[in-house]
């Protein structure tokens, strides 16, 4: 959920541009320039990838590009840290399985 009005910080994304991107082919919306992970969390998406050996789900952990738990396939490129990669219109985001997209 997005924070509409914050007692200290006021509003976020004033004048920000909403753009469309896709997650596993499904159309979604987010603010241009915010981290992909922020747009996904606002849309209620928790799982960013599944591990190779045990197929366990993983999502955001550190949110500052350090832990690499939130990596996904972005525009065909795997292992993209979604918590620090800015969202752009038309981005193709895919859940990562091991180091690939689902066949």
């Amino acid at each position: 959920m997005r924070i509409e009005n914050h007692p200290i910080l006021g509003t976020f994304h004033e004048g920000g541009q909403m753009v469309t991107f896709t997650l596993d082919g499904k159309e979604m919306q987010g603010y241009e320039g915010e981290p992909i992970a922020a747009a996904l969390r606002a849309a209620g998406v928790m799982t960013h990838r599944h591990t190779l050996k045990r197929d366990e789900p993983r999502g955001v952990f550190c949110a500052i590009g350090r832990c690499t738990d939130c990596v996904m396939i972005v525009d065909g490129k795997p292992n993209i840290r979604t918590c620090i990669t800015p969202l752009k219109a038309g981005m193709k985001v895919q859940t990562q399985y091991g180091i690939k997209a689902k066949e």
Partner: protein
Amino acid sequence: MKRYDLIVVGAGPAGLSAAIEAAKYGLKTVVFDENARPGGQLFKQVHKFFGSKEHKAKIRGFKIGEELLADAEKAGVEVHLNATVSGLFDCKEITVIENEAMHHYKADAIILATGARENMIPFEGWTKPGVIGAGAAQTMMNLHGVQPGSRVLMVGSGNVGLVVSFQLLQAGIEVAAIVDAAPRVGGYGVHAAKVARCGVPFYLSHTVIKAEGDDHVTGAVVAEVDSHFKPIPGTEMHLDVDTICMAVGLSPMSQLLSMAGCKMQDKGGIVPIVNEYRETSIKGIYAAGDVGGIEEASSAMITGKITALAAAYELGFAEEKDFREGETRYKASLAQLHEGMFSPANKGRTDLTVTDEGVLLSQNLLKKGYLDLGEIMRFPGAADEVKKVHGIHPVIECTQNIPCNPCQDACKFGCIAVGADITRLPIVNPANKCTGCGMCVASCSGQAIFLVNDDFSETEASVTLPYEFLPYPEPGTKGMALGRDGKAVCEAEVVSCRLSPAMDHTALLTIKVPKEMSMTARFFKAVGV
């Protein structure tokens, strides 16, 4: 290879302060940071900082970040962003990954200000989506305006856990509980108290043992631990949460210093052995801020300045007179922050039972996160209540020696005194008349000051409390007054809700309560909210 006089690694509070100081003396300086934006973690800090005026006390962290960036720009500091320093060598050379290529830079001095990373404790299900770092929660809500969850379990009662819990509440998120394996609250009592009065329960000597859920967190199991921090069977308790937030300490990111061959030591994290100017065992390589040992942003900014000043002097840019003068000033400023019961020297101590003034510490505050009414009267900020001052007056529930004095500066009428030693407990002087302006309430970074008026009416008293939540209740709003433990204690009605620019988003909420509740009512909840 490019050459500079000084290279700074990290554009957080320590690194930027170092670069600004170095620019004063004309060193050709460059700063590298792996992030897309400078400022480190400052822009996530929405609370008012502690310290005194020169430490930028009562200014919110992100505002300090904005000031720092403006100063850096004015000083002409060159900052490379999206630039990851991947190597540091003893010949004072670094390798930097920029635009997917490796570049070499060399300087006569290098200041490492790489900060720290969050610790983690593993437990069943800890890798599930929904288990996040406290820093991640801050990043999502305060930087990106996205709620990390809807109901959160906070693990850790140090200042990070306490501050982030309060921020979660401010962002409209429920905090189900704060647990800590230690038997005592680790952070400042004032931070704990402002969370507790909102109704968040503290479970000390408890830890999280399981994250429930299939593909993401749907609950948590916590349990009591014994004196060896082992969970006690049979004490398990389920909490309905969708997020588990970990605030279990920070570790210095000192790998580059190890790589260069600096002598290191284990002091609650691997840190370099440094001299009084934070110079490592390799001449010309310095460590500023958290990389040299975990503290907070205020001291990081000072150690940044100290390292840059030392480098400027060492390299012949600063005159000895300027160096000595600056050194004296910065060391004194740092020493002020290093006093009191939370000083680096007292880290990990559990044997403190009295304040510097000899007042017995509140055990309730350490075990439950809030003061017991019976304990408050023995502290100098509330002692006057016993003497029954007529009319409105401040009650200061500040009971630990922490370095902070904005309340003293805020009162223009001399009602509040801390003294030159900023870790002393504030004293309320009943000889000077309180006007009820409330600037002390708004200025207290710990939100520990209340205005109490026992003579509000025949039967009622008024209590003015700091309020940083939306929506602000309208005058006439009826609701319940909550006690320090967050439980409803009596009916209350809003008299006023004041906010001016000088209060910087800390509204002064005045409620009226039955007279006998003036020392019990400490928070307000509107009915039906």
